[in-house]
Symmetry: C2
């Protein structure tokens, strides 16, 4: 077979592709102000779970995809301490999608667990 590492990476990557979108949308939805990537990464880090799978290199494409689909909006602003930052906010469509996605997530989770425990 492909080596152990390879099949596990593929599996983890598949799982993450949906989960990352859900988690990022949720974090931005609850922010009182628009957030830039590094702030979002810190929020994820504070969850104290194994977050090795949401590296900066992984989640920026997910942010872009959410924006392309109209669920997030962003604007670039200058920063005094470095290069300009892109700040993300959730859109009304994004809030609606988040509510539906939470339902989909719960159903998918319950489905998988019902099989694994049966």
């Amino acid at each position: 077979m492909e080596d152990e590492n390879s099949v596990d990476k593929k599996f983890q990557k598949e799982l993450n592709s949906g989960v990352a979108a859900l988690v990022l949308l949720d974090i931005v939805s609850r922010a009182e102000q628009p957030m830039y990537g590094y702030q979002i990464a810190n929020m994820i880090g504070e969850s104290k779970q194994d977050v090795s799978f949401i590296k900066q290199g992984t989640f920026y494409p997910v942010l872009h995809s959410l924006e392309n689909n109209g669920l997030l909006t962003s604007r670039v602003e200058p920063s005094v301490s470095g290069p300009p930052r892109r700040y993300y906010s959730i859109t009304p469509d994004g809030n609606q999608a988040l509510a539906r996605w939470k339902t989909i997530w719960t159903a998918t989770k319950n489905f998988a667990d019902s099989i694994l425990r049966s």
Copy 2:
């Protein structure tokens, strides 16, 4: 934005790509005898959860991928009632991958839920 249906379908598809592999590997691992696709579909149906997302057309490619990665093995046998059937069994590598994937699944689930509930 893309229409509601479209973003939800994309999200569900992303979530499913990993979950389907986990669930199929688990079902075949616990079977006392090799199983063919229709039997696996029935096992999934018995979970009584919303299984709209694992249609036959969706899960055959996942079975093939698991076989290509050496986690399942299959043989084709004639059937008295129709076309030949492909029977799937789990391999030793598949059993080892399943154990690791269950751990990855639990960690991913806990991570997402820790964010969603925070």
